[in-house]
């Protein structure tokens, strides 16, 4: 498909030097944008999933006369609740937070000094539903009230809806950015190819007058442009691998407690980069070759 012998001065002119770099940059940016959109989507999905799957059960503190907390009684109630929950259908893991856990969770609100025992705090159980099953909240609520009057069962319905909305918005925004970058990237590639080929109008005319078919001329330009795009793609890949390694490192070094984790294995990270990269390289190549074809056809159409 690639003629060994070009009649056209491709590869020795400005366009030859410019196109690979533009393709590299554009496919790089497009890949980053697609990857970012994907990552955000995954993140948002995991986030809502994480919250949605978890049901919180709150047992009020067991307070004896005065203000002292009966820790033993509380521990017993928590154990009882855990067993009861485990027997209900559709329930997966049940995690009981001890008083210290609860205090830590409330720390941002109550201050670091709030040690367990100082304050009467409720005890929490985090219940994970089995995958795909919607557990019976009413039954859970009934079982809990039996064990501890005033117990509260909450599936974070409000939060879940809010987060779903947020996730949708963020993904739409990222998608818009991808579209924008893809569009402007295509425009730049088209311009680069066209202005590069404009230099060859004389050559095109000579070939035309010598009796070359339109296809003969168009093919050479298109093949050459494809070739330049492939080179550009390679440069883009090199850039991407460097960026990916950097981002992975940076993400790893961030405090895991503060950001929701992606929880992706390294090979999943690679896929997250490879799929958009392949997409954008193919896209840029298609665009470049279409631009080359169109430019030459237009130049030819002006000739008799």
């Amino acid at each position: 498909m690639f003629r060994r012998h070009y009649d056209l001065p491709l590869g020795r002119d400005g366009s030859g030097r410019l196109v690979p770099w533009i393709v590299a940059l554009m496919s790089y940016l497009a890949t980053l944008a697609i990857a970012a959109a994907l990552a955000l989507g995954i993140l948002a999905w995991r986030w809502t999933e994480g919250v949605a799957g978890a049901i919180t059960v709150l047992l009020p503190p067991a307070i004896e006369d005065g203000a002292a907390v009966n820790v033993k009684a509380e521990d017993a109630r928590v154990e009882q609740a855990r067993k009861a929950l485990g027997e209900l259908p559709g329930i997966g893991a049940v995690e009981a937070l001890d008083a210290a856990d609860v205090a830590r969770r409330l720390e941002p609100w109550l201050g670091a000094g709030a040690a367990p025992g100082d304050l009467p705090l409720p005890r929490l159980l985090v219940v994970r539903a089995q995958r795909g099953i919607k557990p019976d909240l009413a039954a859970m609520s009934r079982a809990m009230t039996e064990i501890a009057p005033g117990a509260v069962v909450d599936d974070h319905g409000v939060w879940r809806a809010e987060l779903a909305r947020l996730a949708a918005r963020v993904t739409a925004l990222a998608g818009f950015a991808v579209l924008l970058i893809a569009l402007s990237g295509s425009a730049v590639v088209v311009f680069a190819v066209r202005s590069g080929l404009a230099v060859h109008r004389d050559t095109i005319e000579v070939l035309h007058l010598i009796g070359a078919h339109d296809d003969y001329i168009t093919r050479q330009f298109r093949n050459h442009t494809m070739w330049l795009s492939v080179i550009g793609g390679m440069i883009g890949w090199a850039l991407l691998i460097a960026t990916g390694a950097f981002c992975y490192q940076a993400a790893e070094s961030l405090d895991p407690a503060l950001l929701p984790r992606m929880g992706l294995a390294p090979w999943q990270w690679v896929a997250l980069g490879a799929v958009p990269a392949a997409l954008s390289f193919l896209g840029m190549m298609a665009i470049a070759s279409a631009a080359a074809k169109r430019t030459v056809r237009r130049a030819l159409a002006k000739l008799v």
Binding site: H5, D7, L8, P9, R12, D202, T203, E205, V206, L207, H208, L209, I210, G211, A212, H213, D214, Y216, L303, V304
Partner: protein
């Protein structure tokens, strides 16, 4: 058809570039196959324009041009290149491809016509030797002297043995000796049957070779028959004066 045998037939052709003034008026002539003509006229008379019409680089504004018995107005985009391959052109400004070697420039018409590489190598080599560029096979046109470029352009025009050979001022940059060599190339093409038209300012040349002239005078064509008995090896071109010429 009246002029089925005619190689080149202009019928009442007028031509202007874009919206500009008409540079060729009522051009009407026929060239029979195997004839040899000079095209003369002062600078700006329209010689190059007439040749451009002949080698299908432009379309006439009015009138009909027939090449090899075909009305050129009715050519499809697939047919025109096939016709063009039967025409060899020496452009006034050479139009060599600067990025190709001398060899590849001359090989171009053969490559476009899908001739095999072995044949190309032999044929092109011979021709370049004849025009005195045997040492410059790999040279880029920019590294050749003006006359060398002109000879290269001529080699490219004749290499595919065209049926119609059109040369625009092909000896402007070469000395007398080389001009005669180049003329011998054209005569050679003529001898194997090509129809040849050479536009030139060189009165010397016209006088020496004494072929019939197409003479342009500010866009109007007069046909001047040969003045003296023709030189032996190139019989007089057969003229067919149009009825309304």
């Amino acid at each position: 058809m009246l002029d089925s045998g005619a190689f080149v037939r202009f019928e009442n052709v007028g031509f202007s570039y874009g919206d500009g003034p008409e540079v060729l008026h009522d051009i009407d002539f026929t060239l029979e196959p195997g004839t040899f003509h000079f095209l003369t006229g002062t600078s700006g008379a329209g010689k190059s324009s007439l040749l451009r019409l002949m080698y299908l680089a432009e379309r006439p504004s009015r009138g009909v041009i027939r090449l090899f018995g075909r009305d050129t107005a009715s050519l499809s985009r697939m047919e025109a290149p096939v016709l063009r391959r039967r025409i060899g052109v020496v452009f006034q400004d050479f139009r060599l491809l600067q990025h190709l070697s001398a060899f590849d420039n001359v090989a171009l018409p053969l490559r476009v016509a899908s001739v095999g590489e072995t044949e190309i190598r032999q044929h092109v080599g011979e021709l370049l030797t004849w025009v005195g560029l045997a040492d410059a096979l790999d040279a880029r046109p920019a590294t050749l002297s003006g006359g060398e470029q002109q000879r290269l352009a001529i080699a490219r025009a004749v290499v595919a043995r065209p049926d119609l050979l059109v040369a625009d001022e092909p000896t402007g940059n070469v000395d007398d000796h080389n001009a005669q060599r180049m003329m011998r190339l054209f005569q050679n093409a003529h001898n194997y049957g090509a129809t040849v038209v050479v536009a030139t300012h060189n009165a010397q040349l016209v006088k020496r070779y004494n072929y019939p002239q197409l003479h342009l005078d500010s866009g109007r064509l007069n046909i001047l028959p040969v003045a003296l008995p023709p030189v032996p090896h190139a019989g007089p071109a057969q003229m067919q004066l149009p009825a309304n010429g």
